[in-house]
Each structure stands twice: as structure tokens, then as C-alpha cells.
């Protein structure tokens, strides 16, 4: 982890609500893992005051760039859309613990909703590089929100889209979909990010099928470095329920262990 001032190569709108930013990253010598994140200063001015956390969307080791996919949400992300190519952005990271792909996992299931798609995209990229078969259910309000998901299809990920727009995104439908996929494929592990309802569902299904799972959590952060204890979540462990830091022990956790409330 360090303070990086990275040059923006591009920052463009990719759908109604989503933007994509690519930065030159040769100064980052540490390995960056899918699921890890950077805490980004969205504007040089004092406002917005806090940094904003974004998980890496894509890493290009050969050309030494990193990419982020972000939803225009409030003050911080609106400010971030003002950044133009050539400018530098201050990003603290890489932060947190990322996803792990088990050696014997030749087929994995990804279940992502909203901005969770960005987080799981980095994992899909790694999985594809490792010749792991990747099936992804992507959930969003509209098909427009899923435009960014085309990159996953380009990588060779089997993508299934569900949306409110099409009336396909309700939990019971997603449940049916997953059970069907489990019959048709020899899925070895599950991954999720972006929705509490879907995470609960996947937690239950994974447990029933005896599958290992991982989840990337989001929580409001102060320092994002593990010193302030703002972003905590509950984890079930042998000695009971422990409160741990999303930014440090996470954001990726064992799906079975997280208390989803």
C-alpha cells in the first residue's frame, strides 16, 4: 500500500450511469489482486472531503495499466467524471484482501449486482487467464446498466443477464437459475458482490450444495487502511462472532462465515 499519483489515460461514460477510467500504473510494483481496492481522492479540492473506495475492474499486466468501472452515485463519483486524460489521480492502495481461486476449481459461478459487477469482473479476468470456466449471473435495474458487462462476454465468460426491466431479477428467479446452472455444470465455487439479498441466497445455496464461496463486502470507510475501525462486519468463527474490518481483513470474505443480517 502506498499513495500513488497515477496518470489518467481515459475516463469515459460507458452507459447512462456508468463510467470507466483507465490509468497508467507502472509505478505500482506490488501485485494487485482481484477484489482488492484503491481509496481514491475524487477531486483535488477539499470537497468531497473523504476518499472513495473502488475495487479494480481490470488489470493489464503487459501494458501496465489498471481500470475502474464506477457508478455515478453522489458528489464523489460525479467529481470523478470531471477528470480528463493527462491529469493525475491520487489513489491509496492496493488495499485489502482479494479473491482466491482454488487450484482445483475448474468451473466457478459469479453472482453480481450493480457495481458488484466491476468487482467480480477482475476475478473473471483472472479466472479466464487461468483457464477456469466462468459463469456469471449479472443483475441490474436496466439492460443499460449492464452494457459494461460486455467486456466479460468478450473474455469468454458465459454471461446471464437479469434485470428489473425484464422482470427477471427477483430472488426466486435467480434461485431457479442457479439451481439449473448447478445441474448443468460442475461448479466448484461461488463468488458474489453487490447485493445483500443475492448474497443471502448464494450463501444458502452454496451451503446446501457444500460449495465454498467468497463475498466482497461494501461498507462506509474512514481510513480504508485498517486503523480507524469504521468499516466493520460480523464474521462467524469458532470462538463466536467477531467484528472485523472490511478494509483490512476484507473486503473479500468466506461467504459461509459472513453474518448478512
Amino acid at each position: 500500500m502506498k499513495v500513488n499519483k497515477l496518470e489518467v489515460l481515459s475516463n469515459v461514460q460507458v452507459s447512462e450511469r456508468y463510467w470507466h477510467m483507465k490509468l497508467e500504473a507502472s509505478s505500482i510494483l506490488e501485485p494487485v489482486k482481484p477484489g482488492q481496492f484503491f481509496n481514491i481522492k475524487c477531486a483535488e479540492a477539499d470537497s468531497p472531503f473523504l476518499r472513495r473506495p473502488f475495487s479494480i475492474y481490470r488489470m493489464n499486466k503487459a501494458e501496465k495499466t489498471i481500470e475502474f468501472l464506477y457508478l455515478m452515485k453522489g458528489q464523489g463519483t460525479f467529481k470523478l467524471t470531471d477528470v480528463v486524460a493527462g491529469e493525475k489521480v491520487d489513489m491509496l492502495g492496493p488495499l485489502g484482501e482479494g479473491f482466491t481461486l482454488g487450484k482445483t476449481w475448474d468451473t466457478v459461478l459469479l453472482l453480481a449486482r450493480g457495481v458488484g459487477i466491476a468487482t467480480l469482473a477482475a476475478l473473471a479476468q483472472e479466472a479466464v487467464e487461468k483457464h477456469v470456466k466462468c459463469i456469471a449471473i449479472l443483475s441490474a435495474r436496466t439492460n443499460n446498466d449492464l452494457l459494461a458487462a460486455e467486456m466479460l462476454q468478450g473474455l469468454g465468460v458465459q454471461v446471464i443477464k437479469v434485470t428489473e426491466e425484464d422482470g427477471t431479477s427477483d430472488v426466486s428467479n435467480v434461485h431457479r437459475l442457479i439451481e439449473q446452472l448447478l445441474i448443468e455444470n460442475d461448479i466448484k465455487a461461488t463468488f458474489t458482490c453487490g447485493s445483500k439479498r443475492l448474497s443471502k441466497l448464494l450463501q444458502k445455496i452454496s451451503k446446501n450444495h457444500g460449495l465454498p464461496g467468497q463475498i466482497a463486502l461494501e461498507e462506509h470507510m474512514g481510513c480504508a487502511m485498517g486503523v480507524c475501525y469504521a468499516c466493520v462486519c460480523d464474521i462467524k468463527e469458532e470462538n463466536g462472532i467477531n467484528s472485523v474490518r472490511v478494509c483490512k481483513e476484507g473486503p473479500v470474505f468466506n461467504l459461509e462465515k459472513v453474518v448478512l443480517g
Binding site: F49, L50, G222, A224, C231, C233, S243
Partner: protein
């Protein structure tokens, strides 16, 4: 200027420079970012006797010019602290000030006595600005008599330099400052966060889980400058200015108001290198104005009579 004198004293505690982190906004996790040997002191997060879970999330929210927090002193308890937190800092030649939070006067004394025996502890900061379970949830530092008793009891069981961290949520901080001095405090930290609240107008819910939280950051700096000025008027003991210091200009301003040393909290979240940059800025300021000894600046505000 070749020989800038930056060292300051708080009781028996000698600091090589006046810049240190504020409790709760710094930790060993920042070790890869800069050399802790460059700090005036190391101040870990407040420790409680027993493990504490902390408050409901969200525990922080952003406001104009700052943030609210209600962490609730999440802590793994004193034995863990002694075994795992303190030893991490033994490798540095920077003095460590242990911050203590407790539920009663006796517990403050008991913890101070135990922590005093630790080789790597050079001073103790008493977080008397945290809620007091004996006193209906009010902070110890809101009651002059209680503050006096607390400091006195702690001083009786330890030879360490004792800093009382005051709460700004009082009618007269001067009264509390004097009570602490009379109790034997070697220094005063001015101050902890100010009680605040923020509401999301769309959901109509409080923005933090605990409803109320403490505001920190640049928004409170002018209030802290005023508090330092007021405390400096009634006491000669060292003051650590704390609240809203984002850069070296803020640090100098607090020194001019009467602070001997400075703690940096929230700024670490925005720019984790800020303490190093503040130190460099102070040196440049001293060179520009030909100030050899930082102690010569303390309280040197030119107030028209």
C-alpha cells in the same frame, strides 16, 4: 538555518518534534507509508480494559469540511494490547503515548498502573472525553471535580507523564483544564471531537448508526484554536492542539494560539503522508521567519490591547 530546534517537552516526556498522530486515526497498518521514527510521538488507538464491540455501522459519514464518527472504541482489550499492539512499536526510537479509555476512575487508575510498567510506553493520554458509565453517560471531562479526582488517582499510581484529553463539549474548558492541572496533569490535549449529528434527508435516517457522533476535520479547527487560546490563558502546562489540522499552516496557527505540540487525526485519512508534510512545512516556516526554537512560537499571537 542549520540548527532548528523542534524538540518539545510534556512533563518528563521529551519529543524530538511536536507532530504526532491523534488516537484512533493512526495505526501500525500505516507503517509502509512513512518512517515512524520521524514522528514526535506514536499514539495508538485508545485501549479499554475489556474487549468492546463498538457501535452500529455506518460508523462514519462525510460532512462539509470534515466527518462524523462513532466507532465506540472497538477494542480487543488490555491483554491483547500489551501482547500484540505495543510490541509492534518497540522497533522505533519514537516515544509512545498510550491512550486509555475507561468506564470509571478506578479503572483509569488500574489501567494506567498496568500500562506504566511497559518498557515501550513513555507517556499516557487519558481519554476523559469518552462517556462515563458511572455518570449517566456524560464524559468525565465534563465534570471538573471528577476530572480532578481522576487525574489525581492516576498520578498516584504512575510516574509516567500524564496528558488529559479534554472534551470540547463543555461550557467552560478553562475550568476543566485547571481541574486537570490541579490534579497533576503534565499536559492537556485540546481536544477530542465535538458532538454532532447528520441526517439523510432522503431516507430521513441519521447518517451514522449511533445517531450522534463526533465531528473532526477542518470544520472544527477555528473552534479548537479558540479553545487552545482560552486554555493557554489560564495554565502554563503544555497543550497538545488537536482538531482539524490538515497542513502545516494549521499546525503553526495552533502553536501561535498556545499549543506546544500538535496531533493530526482525520488528515491521515485524506493524505496519509500529511504528518511528514506538516513537519517539513513547519521547518520552512521557521527558516523563513528565522525562528530557531519552535518553543519560542508558543502562544505568540499578537493580540491588540
Amino acid at each position: 538555518m542549520e540548527s532548528l530546534k523542534l524538540d518539545v517537552k510534556i512533563g518528563e516526556l521529551k519529543l524530538k518534534n511536536p507532530i504526532m498522530p491523534a488516537s484512533g486515526a493512526f495505526g501500525f497498518e500505516m507503517e509502509s507509508l512513512f518512517d515512524f521514527n520521524q514522528l514526535g510521538a506514536i499514539v495508538p488507538k485508545s485501549i479499554t480494559k475489556y474487549p468492546r464491540g463498538g457501535n452500529a455501522t455506518p460508523r462514519v459519514c462525510e460532512v462539509t469540511g470534515g466527518m462524523l464518527n462513532s466507532i465506540g472504541i472497538q477494542s480487543k482489550g488490555l491483554p491483547y494490547y500489551l501482547k500484540n499492539i505495543l510490541p509492534q512499536y518497540e522497533q522505533y526510537n519514537t516515544p509512545l503515548i498510550a491512550s486509555i479509555s475507561a468506564d470509571s476512575v478506578d479503572e483509569f487508575a488500574e489501567m494506567s498502573e498496568i500500562i506504566s510498567k511497559e518498557k515501550c510506553v513513555s507517556g499516557i493520554e487519558l481519554n476523559i472525553s469518552c462517556p462515563n458509565l458511572e455518570g449517566d453517560g456524560k464524559a468525565f471531562g465534563m465534570d471538573a471535580e471528577l476530572s480532578y479526582q481522576l487525574i489525581k488517582k492516576v498520578k498516584a499510581v504512575t510516574n509516567q507523564s500524564i496528558i488529559a484529553k479534554l472534551t470540547p463539549n463543555v461550557t467552560s474548558i478553562q475550568e476543566i483544564a485547571l481541574a486537570c492541572e490541579n490534579g497533576g496533569a503534565d499536559g492537556l490535549n485540546v481536544a477530542n471531537t465535538m458532538l454532532a449529528m447528520a441526517i439523510d434527508i432522503h431516507t430521513r435516517k441519521p447518517k451514522i448508526g449511533n445517531v450522534l457522533g463526533g465531528i473532526s476535520g477542518p470544520a472544527i479547527k477555528p473552534i479548537i484554536v479558540r479553545l487552545i487560546h482560552q486554555v493557554r490563558k489560564v495554565t502554563e502546562i503544555p497543550i497538545i492542539g488537536c482538531g482539524g489540522v490538515m497542513n502545516w499552516e494549521d499546525a503553526i496557527e495552533m502553536i501561535l494560539a498556545g499549543a506546544n505540540a500538535i496531533q493530526v487525526g482525520t488528515a491521515n485519512f485524506i493524505n496519509p503522508l500529511s504528518m511528514m508534510e506538516i513537519l517539513e512545512g513547519i521547518k520552512r516556516y521557521m527558516t523563513t521567519y528565522q525562528i530557531e526554537d519552535i518553543n519560542d512560537l508558543v502562544g505568540k499571537t499578537d493580540i491588540p490591547v
